[in-house]
Symmetry: C2
Subunit: 124 residues, 2 copies
């Protein structure tokens, strides 16, 4: 096995980066099962720490991530996915990237526009 899943309780961080633009979209977690399903299916599968189960990204919203390339870091405990984000937004809040807030001296500032309305997509 090329990934060291023993660190951090069986979970390693996985960064999703837009394969075309280089924008960092999100960071989530993978256990061995999520990693293997990602490689097998070509769609990003994470492990949800809050729900404690596999999280097939986009299974509710349809905004799946098609995995173009997978990289591993020098310590073999972080994964980098280059993806094509269906729907144009990785963040459940409707932004292209989960990193839509910038740290400034007086606090956080939202620096992106929403791509979709979360209420409409998730029907909540």
């Amino acid at each position: 096995m090329v990934i060291d899943f023993k660190k951090a309780g069986g979970l390693v961080p996985a960064i999703a980066q837009d394969a075309a633009t280089g924008q960092v979209l999100m960071l989530a977690w993978m256990n061995r099962e999520a990693y293997e399903e990602t490689l097998r299916t070509g769609r990003a599968v994470y492990f949800s720490r809050s729900r404690n189960k596999l999280w097939r990204k986009g299974e509710e919203s349809g905004h799946v991530q098609e995995v173009r390339e997978v990289y591993v870091d020098c310590d073999a405990d972080t994964i980098l996915l280059k993806v094509h984000q269906i729907g144009g937004a990785a963040c459940h809040e409707g932004y292209a990237s989960c990193f839509f807030r910038k740290v400034e001296p007086d606090g956080l500032r939202v620096v992106a526009e929403k791509v979709f309305d979360p209420k409409a997509v998730y029907k909540k």
Copy 2:
């Protein structure tokens, strides 16, 4: 405090991305002290899980990371740094990025050239 350091034992993942090219350079960890020193000094400071202490990136090699921008994700538990990497290489193995290995059907393949010789830089 804008970052949720309570998750994962006081440490959150921090992604370093090249501010100019968008290349993802590395992922490391920050505790509150590392985060605050990073903001105060404008240089990336992480927390080394293996050495269990603050890690002022580049303090040995001189390859510091000048922090241009800091972003926080939607859950406020992951940090994205846009940096200028002094020396051109973030990885202690001499590569620009720690993600120099690509996952392929038959294993890992090195897909980058070394920027420096680690033996010369770290004098080991």
